[in-house]
């Protein structure tokens, strides 16, 4: 099954997006028959297809609706908010499908929090009925949760008692790290399948407030108004329309404007070439908005985002990604400066935040990432982040024999020292030089300078600097060697090495919650023939191996 992440509100099957001035409503009305596989999406349960639409809606709200300051996620079904991820879908999905699904849904929820925190678009969850599992986790990603108090509606995380898995879309983490639910109450809450309702849900900090049915709508409206008042977004447009993303695919190539991917199925590598802009930046933010989705930083980021999602989901055997850039460093530098100069403009801020989130996807990707710096490349500022997101990097020292191109240079800018943080809330350079402030300050002193391979290597900005005599052999051997390792061990190793430094909610969600969840997913207690996921819905109880591991 080939999953396409591109969609549009006109094609949504599961969500209704409506805008009324500064308030947007994201109504969940999952089409039971609209699942990506042979499962019925009952009771507003979701699969990847539902979440792709949610991601699209969240993105469009940010770019196309600068005037929207508060968004309510609500259910269009009566007396049910959302029953979470569809259990039959999880039951019939392979392990990689489950893991990919969880990663994407986690990234989408982190994106919602990013909108709340950084782009002045605040989110509210209006729970008109029970929210269970992933349904409650979706609510947890918002700023404010209102639960209807009708004597029946509950919030619940029934995964442990009912399904033998974890609330893996941030649920456990957000309880204690975001909502400050006491850990013992969180333990109780996460083991009562029926959940908690009414005033107790407030007392335990699981929701922010409850409202009876007759006052539910007015309570939600009032809170939306309050949230909107905290926003710094402009009160009117124009926005940037996210026009259909152009993409051409063949068996071994994927081509977008400003980005192309070439697959080598033998070596199991994908070479991703980001192409720099051919024209200088516009005169100001308004002109950038006018360029809209054609504005290079946005167009390039959209292509990169889609390429990552596509490769992750549809090209799972491709274990190593080689990142390259191609273009005029001066024009890239001009764009980089343009973005940094106009961070206080909503649209520029939005583009930079989007680039931040997209680079974070690379950090969270379970592929080996190598970045190659060759003549003709344009690793400047934001694009240089592709070097620091990589597990290792190679820079050509000098030029290729017989090719008339100047040697490759690397250039740091302010973009490498501020806005493009990782999930640990540090810049990639601060992460790279964790515990070594001198190395970080030295890198900062190089801002604006063109660094050749030796200089970049001395400043510890690249892993290897090889001349053209060694280049091909070293790379070939490295790639063949990489392809020979256990993909599982590589994923585990890479994920452990990519995030030195402090934990944040996001790193815990990916590094702790997801890692445990992925372990549980492979255990017979969950996914064996007698495990909880397989037996769910049959009436039979799982037959657990009682060993604590």
């Amino acid at each position: 099954m080939n999953v396409d992440f591109r969609t549009h509100p006109d094609r949504y099957r599961h969500w209704r997006l409506t805008i009324d001035g500064e308030i947007a409503r994201l109504g969940m009305d999952v089409d039971e028959a609209g699942g990506l596989g042979p499962w019925e999406l009952k009771m507003n349960s979701y699969d990847l297809g539902v979440d792709i639409e949610l991601y699209d809606a969240v993105q469009r709200l940010r770019f196309e609706h600068p005037e929207v300051k508060a968004v309510v996620i609500e259910s269009l079904k009566e007396r049910i908010f959302c029953a979470g991820a569809n259990i039959r879908m999880l039951g019939c999905s392979t392990h990689p499908e489950k893991v990919n699904f969880c990663k994407f849904t986690n990234e989408t929820r982190n994106g919602i929090e990013d909108a709340s925190r950084n782009s002045g678009q605040r989110y509210l969850a209006a729970l008109n009925g029970s929210a269970a599992g992933g349904g409650y986790e979706l609510a947890l990603a918002t700023d404010h949760i209102v639960l209807v108090d009708d004597g029946t509606a509950t919030v619940a995380l029934p995964e442990v008692p009912l399904l033998g898995v974890l609330p893996g879309t941030g649920g456990l983490t957000r309880l204690v790290d975001k909502r400050f639910v006491r850990r013992d109450l969180a333990d109780v809450f996460s083991t009562v399948e029926e959940g908690v309702k009414g005033e107790r849900a407030v007392a335990w900090r699981l929701v922010d407030e409850v409202a009876p049915t007759s006052r539910f709508a007015e309570t939600v409206a009032a809170r939306l108004h309050d949230l909107a008042a905290t926003s710094d977004r402009p009160s009117e447009g124009p926005g940037i329309e996210l026009t259909p993303l152009e993409r051409e695919t063949s068996d071994t190539t994927i081509t977008y404007p400003h980005l192309r991917v070439t697959l080598d199925r033998g070596l199991r590598t994908a070479t991703i070439v980001v192409e720099g802009p051919t024209q200088g930046p516009p005169t100001g933010p308004a002109a950038a908005v006018e360029l809209g989705a054609r504005f290079w930083p946005l167009a390039m980021t959209r292509a990169l985002d889609d390429a990552i999602l596509h490769l992750r989901t549809n090209e799972r055997d491709i274990g190593t990604w080689l990142l390259k850039t191609e273009g005029d460093p001066e024009i890239v530098a001009a764009h980089d400066a343009f973005l940094l100069d106009h961070l206080d403009h909503w649209a520029i801020r939005e583009i930079v935040l989007y680039l931040k989130r997209t680079l974070r996807r690379i950090d969270e990707t379970s592929r080996s990432i190598f970045t190659l710096v060759e003549p003709g490349s344009c690793f400047v500022g934001a694009l240089a982040e592709l070097l620091f997101a990589a597990d290792r990097s190679y820079m050509l020292d000098g030029t290729f024999d017989g090719i008339d191109e100047p040697e490759a240079k690397l250039r740091l800018t302010g973009a490498n020292f501020g806005p493009l943080t990782m999930d640990n809330h540090l810049t990639r350079l601060a992460t790279r030089f964790w515990g070594r402030d001198d190395a970080l300050s030295h890198a900062a002193s190089l801002v604006g300078k063109e660094l050749d391979a030796v200089e970049a290597h001395d400043a510890e900005l690249v892993t290897f600097a090889y001349d053209d005599i060694d280049w091909d052999d070293e790379l070939r051997i490295a790639l063949e060697e990489r392809a020979s390792f256990s993909p599982d061990a590589l994923t585990g190793m890479e994920q452990n090495l990519r995030f030195p430094g402090p934990e944040t909610m996001e790193t815990k969600i990916f590094g702790r919650l997801t890692a445990w969840q992925n372990w549980i997913f492979t255990r017979p207690n969950a996914s064996g023939p007698d495990g909880a996921l397989q037996r769910y819905g049959t009436g039979l109880r799982p037959d657990f191996n009682r060993n604590r591991t």
Binding site: E193, E194, T213, G539, L540, R541
Partner: protein, 491 residues
Amino acid sequence: MTTIADKVDYSTLIPNNVGLADDQKLLRALEKWYPKYLDWWMDMGPTGFIHETPFQEADVWLRTAVSVERDGWAKFDYVRMPDYRWGILLAPTEEGRTVPFGEHRGEPAWQEVPGAYRAMLRRLIVIQGDTEPASVEQQRHLGKTAPSLYDMRNLFQVNVEEGRHLWAMVYLLQRYFGRDGREEAEELLRRRSGDPDRPRMLGAFNEETPDWLSFFMFTYFTDRDGKMQLEALAQSGFDPLSRTCRFMLAEEAHHMFVGATGVGRIVKATAQAMRDAGIDDPYDVERIRSLGVIDLPLIQRKLNLHFSLTLDLFGSEESTNAANAFHAGLKGRFHETAIDDDHQLLGSTYPVTKLVDGAFRQVDVPALNALNARLRDDYVEDCMGGVRRWNRYIADAGVDFELTLPHVAFHRQIGEFAGLHVTPDGRVVDSSTWEKRRATYLPTDADRLFIEALMQQVTTPGEFASWIARPQKGIGQQSVDFEYVRIPATG
């Protein structure tokens, strides 16, 4: 503050066979709950007057369950309803009872809640419990238009016994489920039928019971769902639930008797009036109604409504919850122990009616998942008896009309057929066709106005409203002419 609890000895006030006098924990819980229950009863129980005396102050000839002996479990007497002795009575213990079905089949029945099934069991009990007070709330205004003292008494009997059934479920919650159980018991008193803020849990229990035809239909059809659910729970491996439900079934039989005979007497009154007036055409509605009786097509429409609403109470045809509850040994099938199979259903299938390519077909699904469908099928079968009897009254009067149960897919909100537009005779049509014919399928506003105008309280002993026939005999050793509800002799 003086509450009833200060001066009442519950262990003697509450008829029981659960050793209440010696169970301090349970007594304490009930002492807290009982005053709230009485408040609820006064607030939401029968309301209205007979001869300017509130129903709650009238003497009503009621039976009270006082023991669980087969003969003499009930005692009849004049009782003011708030003084009714709502008892806690469980069918006698069966020595050596085992779990009759599911994974634990053959193991000794549980006398305490198994921890692994706490949530599932509690939910089953809460849902059952929620229906009991709901029907009292739905029926609270009906005394004002009772067609006779006999019927008024039957209404109140049903009401106090639904109250007792609430008690029975509350007993289980308070005795076996700790603090959570006590909270749920209080919630049962806080929810209100039809209240948008705190509705009852199941849809049909938030619908109005606006008139006596509805009441009889409700007791015939909806209480029969209650019976089926109780029958299924009476099989439970959790012995206290099983014993509670078995005893409740003894009372529930009377409720269905009220419904079956009530609709029957209405049908009979109509058929006889038509015969006496020489009207052959059952669709000659104006003339029939002018006789002070309810036309048969309207009775059919009411039947359609109540039957279809009740089918929704069985839940989705294919249900994980039902499968879980069966496999766990908590909720069985109708007459489980009489069924000749392995009582575990691991490999077997059950045919479920579904719409396949535009036609209703039977599709085999795993039997464990089809338990709701099966219970519903048993229910439909169980509904037939009364309908056949009613049709006999019509035939006896020489009228050419037959009441029928509508197709199971007609007018459904839950399960396989939700969202379809199906006619009572089982044809799938488009929504505009269905809407155009709606007034022939379901009661209309005009029907409602007609019935409202027709129904007036009758309070003379032995007299009956024109639209309902006299019953064949009285109740509780009394004649039909007995003064079943009276103003107390002394204030």
